[in-house]
């Protein structure tokens, strides 16, 4: 029997903030199949980022289970979780999170470098990824020399270079103007169509919704389908 790519079973996540306890997610169950483009909408602080972090092996649930490709990842060791992130997941963040000391090429090549790939292979794949996002001419630039839209395109190239099955995008247009937002979303949608990876995109904008094959919403830590 084929497993869904991502599955959350009755997942809850609680954070402590001083004496208070914040329930970021409450009994969330969710499945995502290979090739879906899912948007997760909801207001700020609703639990969207936490939802993505749990799927991306960045955070562990307080209760419940998280599966990636049929593998229960919520009980994995640091080594196991790191391997999942290295191979299966690509992140696109609102604030880009590029390495300021690295060139565009080096930033994009970083996931392959971490996998210990050969130099020639890294070069070929990084150049290809940069070509796909239209930044072949900025390989030697540093992030501080790029516009916001360009920085996010570098982040997209870095997220897809190692051919992950899951792309998690956390408000990828939250820091961009509408023109650049449009460009980045089209790029992600195009790559999704070509490569067939699953996209889970958190957003509180309307613009990304038109690219979604499925929409879910989160309010006060509870998941609702079809928002």
């Amino acid at each position: 029997m084929a497993h869904p790519l991502v599955e959350l079973k009755e997942v809850s996540k609680t954070y402590a903030a001083g004496d208070m306890r914040i329930h970021a997610l409450r009994d969330v169950s969710f499945q995502a199949e290979q090739g879906e483009f899912i948007t997760v909408s909801g207001p700020s602080g609703s639990g969207k980022s936490t939802f993505l972090h749990l799927m991306g092996a960045v955070d562990a649930p307080t209760s419940g289970e998280v599966f990636l490709g049929g593998l229960e990842i919520s009980r994995l060791s640091d080594e196991g979780l790191s391997e999942i992130r290295r191979k299966e997941v690509g992140f696109i963040h609102q604030f880009f999170h590029l390495m300021p000391t690295m060139t565009v090429y080096e930033n994009v090549a970083l996931p392959l470098l971490l996998q210990g790939r050969k130099r020639a292979e890294i070069k070929e794949m990084a150049e290809n990824a940069l070509a796909r996002v239209g930044l072949s001419n900025r390989m030697r630039s540093f992030p501080r020399q790029l516009s916001g839209g360009e920085m996010q395109r570098v982040a997209v190239a870095r997220a897809i270079i190692h051919k992950p099955r899951l792309i998690l995008a956390d408000e990828p247009t939250g820091n961009l103007d509408s023109g650049n937002s449009q460009n980045v979303l089209e790029l992600v949608a195009e790559l999704h169509k070509e490569d067939g990876f699953t996209v889970v995109m958190a957003t509180h904008d309307q613009m990304p919704l038109r690219y979604a094959t499925r929409r879910v919403g989160i309010t006060d830590g509870r998941l609702e389908e079809g928002c």
Binding site: H53, D59, S82, R86, F91, H97, P111, L113, G116
Partner: protein, 864 residues
């Protein structure tokens, strides 16, 4: 491994390159710490090795030696020893220290009172015809056997080592003057090749025939020792026991190495103190690396989070940051080792001078070092880098990927429970420190005292975080109305952990500074009081060679009559000091005129009146001992000492214990008449001269100079006190130098920490500037932060230093050297030093503050 190197190159190295100022400060700090540590280590090892090597070289193949301390052995004993079938060879030795200078045609005269004139050398009187089996030496020029015999037979000839020849610029055929019991002029009959024995003491060695030496040193019929070589196959210990039974009372037979053990033991305490001080600079260097790495980890929270989200494991993060710390350590160590080699030369000069002043004659000019020492330096540098870098690296690895992504600004919260734990821990460690001191005093060993000092330093470090938070809160509440003060306090409280590390490193350096100032000034004041109360004679006279530590130079007691006959002299106290073997060590037995000391001088007895105690000791044939002697050998008033003498053991009751700061080993002092009677020695080591009430000091000085033998040095009371003060300053000069470097390294830490704070606050600074705060306001806020940090460090360091000083004075010093020092807090001097530290921390902040003020507003606001 390959991934770590790639990340090091792409992340760490590029980050460091972007912050050359901070990198340079850290490297210099680490380098200074390593340099000071290995410089002291190399200088200590060089001086110890030089001392040991000279002992070995001068002893040559000697297996056992017979001696009787300063009194020497009867020369006829050698004939009896040679008759023993277990012994293959027996050789006579006279070993003394003398002043020597060239006299080749210059006609210059010795200037009385200038004891430093000329060159101090070790003089050996040997049986030059029969000594070859014991010590190897060769002449630079090749002579025929007959020629050598004629040169040896010359009663006005001597042989000098290359070091002496170079120092005096004399050669074969030139004349030299030797200042021993009498001044004598010799012709240089040969220069020894700089090898073996002639290489020891940096070549400061002269050799003469035994007969000539006995005359020069007025040791007629006496020998300083007899060196022995055993027949093959003899068991040394059983032969030693057999010879010991055969020897007259007061003489002992022992292995040559035993002779240097007393000095080496005293040297070890002195060198341990220097090593501990050098460790402080290294420790402060550790804090600097820790600080740099902590700042790096805090600043790169986002970077770490991104790496973690890309799949780098927590071990990978530890490797990355650990490797970065190691790289800083490696670069700092390279620089430190190079600096250390140069600094070692300066340290050696200080250390050898102190050894010459306080412990033994030692000439060593060049630091000995090889690959082992250099590797040691690298090892220490890398070790401390790893130790200080590993904690920030572990902290970085514990950061979850989510943390860095969500909490981009990295606000650092300190939980009240953590503060309570730190304060409780610090108080617990302070209690442990107190208990360790009690253990040290009860056990009579200084080691728990050192541990206690380490515990106080640890407690200071633990207190630093609460101090930063309290200080920041207090400034905010009291000076919060002033924007710059508010910003400064806010900046301090924003990164309490890192600022606490900076504060603890500066506080520890200040604590050491305070403790040393208190200890040294207390010691100085105690010695000044002691010299004022006990050095009461108007003039002191002694053979010039007596100013070489370890010298046995003496004069005839005829000097008493000669000086006593000078108009204006009321009394002369002849003082004699001889070394005696006792309880497996060598002690100093001294003889003074108790009647004169009781009437005119004064000894500070722990209990009892000086005059009464001395009068009773004189009439009953009792001894008084110094406090250092009493502490070292566990002797107290009323105890009986059984001292070896030529006529057999002499039981002497201890009449009193008095404070004395002249030597570490201390004295047993008896009335000189008692010493003459039992030890059959009528020589004098020095004389204390008291003038009549109406005598004019200058007139008497001139008269004394006319009658005194030209080899004698005459020093006024004020001159002697000045000399005591000068030796005191020389002794502690290196202490201050080491401490200065530790404070300097800590100040580099202040500059590094402030630079890190500023780099993290670029947005904040940009926002403040955008809101209208001018450059001066930013500069004032940053410098205010440094001033608060400096002032808090000084307060914490002062509190800790006062405790450390008490440990040094009442435990470590007391148990290591046996001296009682009055605890004196020199407020004025202390305040000046501490003000300098606060001003220096302000100065250290100037560059970071200027850099902060110059950050362009647009860039600061737009930076990611």
């Amino acid at each position: 491994m390959g991934v770590t190197f790639s990340l090091l190159r792409l992340l760490a190295w590029r980050r460091l390159k972007e912050e050359p100022f901070r990198l340079a400060l850290t490297l210099v700090g680490v380098a200074l710490g390593v340099a000071v540590f290995i410089a002291v280590k190399m200088a200590n090892e060089t001086s110890t090795r030089a001392f040991e090597n000279s002992l070995v070289a001068i002893s040559g193949k000697t297996q056992l030696e017979v001696s009787a301390g300063g009194l020497g052995v009867d020369e006829n004993l050698i004939l009896k020893l040679r008759a023993m079938r277990e012994l293959k060879r027996a050789a006579p030795v006279i070993q003394q220290h003398v002043w020597i200078r060239g006299a080749g045609g210059s006609g210059a005269r010795w200037r009385r009172g200038a004891a430093s004139q000329g060159s101090a050398v070790l003089a050996l009187g040997l049986d030059l015809l029969g000594d070859n089996d014991f010590r190897g030496y060769e002449f630079e020029n090749k002579y025929a056997r007959e020629e050598i015999l004629s040169r040896i037979a010359d009663p006005q000839g001597l042989f000098i080592a290359r070091g002496v020849a170079d120092a005096l610029r004399v050669g074969v055929g030139d004349f030299v003057e030797v200042e021993a019991a009498r001044r004598m002029r010799f012709r240089v009959r040969g220069v020894l090749k700089p090898e073996g024995m002639a290489k020891s003491m940096d070549g400061r060695l002269i050799i003469m025939d035994i007969g000539v030496a006995q005359e020069v040193f007025e040791r007629f019929g006496r020998l300083d020792r007899i060196d022995l070589i055993l027949e093959d196959g003899g068991e040394i210990e059983s032969i030693r026991e057999k010879i010991q039974k055969f020897l007259p009372p007061g003489a002992i037979v022992e292995r040559p190495a035993r002779r240097g053990r007393d000095v080496e033991k005293m040297l070890a305490s002195f060198q341990l103190n220097l090593t501990v001080l050098s460790v402080i600079a290294l420790l402060v260097g550790c804090f600097l690396i820790y600080n740099t790495m902590s700042a790096s980890v805090l600043r790169r929270r986002g970077e770490i989070a991104t790496l973690r989200s890309l799949g780098v494991t927590s071990k990978g993060i530890v490797s990355l940051y650990g490797a970065e710390a190691l790289c800083i350590g490696l670069a700092g160590s390279c620089l430190g080792v190079a600096m250390g080699v140069f600094m070692a030369q300066g340290a050696l000069s200080f250390i050898s001078q102190t050894i010459r002043n306080l412990y033994a004659f030692l000439e060593v000019r060049h630091v000995l070092f090889g690959p082992r020492e250099l590797l040691w330096g690298f090892g220490v540098g890398l070790g401390v880098s790893l130790v200080s870098g590993i904690f920030p690296a572990i902290a970085a690895s514990r950061q979850s990927p989510r943390q860095g992504i969500v909490e981009r600004q990295g606000k650092v919260e300190v939980r009240p429970a953590a503060i309570a734990a730190l304060v409780s821990g610090a108080l617990l460690i302070a209690c442990l420190a107190y208990w360790l001191n009690l253990q040290a005093l009860a056990g009579g060993t200084p080691w728990p005292g050192y541990l206690s000092a380490a515990a106080v330093i640890l407690a200071t470090a633990l207190f630093s975080l609460p101090v930063v938070l309290c200080g920041s809160a207090i400034v905010r509440r009291t000076l919060g109305g002033a924007l710059s003060a508010w910003l400064a306090a806010h900046g301090l409280g924003r990164h309490p952990h890192r600022n606490a590390v900076t504060l603890s490193s500066l506080a520890i350096a200040v604590a050491m500074l305070v403790s040393l100032i208190i200890m040294i000034e207390s010691f100085r004041a105690t010695v000044e009081v002691w010299t004022q109360q006990t050095l009461r004679a108007d003039f002191y006279a002694a053979p010039a060679s007596r100013f070489i530590k370890g010298s046995r130079a003496s004069v005839s007691e005829d000097a008493l009559k000669i000086i006593g006959g000078v108009s204006g002299v009321a009394a002369v106290d002849g003082f004699r000091a001889v070394r005696l073997p006792w309880r497996g060590a060598r002690i100093t037995l001294a003889g003074g005129d108790f009647r004169i000391v009781a009437e005119r001088g004064r000894l500070l007895f722990i209990d009892g009146d000086s005059k009464e105690t001395l009068t009773r000791a004189r009439t009953r044939g009792e001894a008084v001992v110094t406090e250092t002697f009493a502490n070292l050998y566990g002797v107290k008033k009323g105890d009986y000492l059984r001292l070896p003498a030529p006529g057999g053991e002499v039981p002497v009751r201890v009449a009193g214990v008095y404070y004395d700061y002249t030597t570490e080993g201390g004295f047993v002092v008896v009335d000189r008449a008692f010493l003459k009677k039992h030890w059959r020695d009528d020589r004098l080591s020095s004389l204390a001269i008291y003038l009549t009430e109406n005598a004019r000091s200058e007139d008497v000085r001139k008269s004394l100079e006319n009658v005194l033998d030209p080899t004698m040095v005459l020093i006024s009371n004020a001159g002697l006190k000045k000399r005591v003060s000068s030796i005191f300053d020389q002794t502690f000069a290196i202490t201050y130098a080491l401490e200065f470097i530790a404070v300097l390294v800590a100040l580099l830490g202040v500059a590094t920490s402030l630079s890190s704070n500023i780099l993290e606050r670029v947005h904040e600074i940009g926002a403040l500037r955008a809101m209208g705060l001018n450059r001066k306001g930013i500069t004032t806020a940053i410098m205010g932060e440094a001033a608060i940090l400096g002032a808090l460090s000084v307060l914490a360091g002062l509190a800790s230093g006062v405790c450390l000083a008490a440990i040094l004075i009442f435990v470590v010093n007391k148990l290591s050297f046996g001296w009682t020092i009055q605890y004196i807090f020199a407020w004025k001097g202390m305040a000046a030093y501490l003000l300098v530290v606060v001003l220096a921390s302000l100065a250290a902040s100037w560059l970071p503050a200027r850099a902060a003020a110059r950050i362009p507003i647009r860039e600061a606001l737009s930076e990611e």
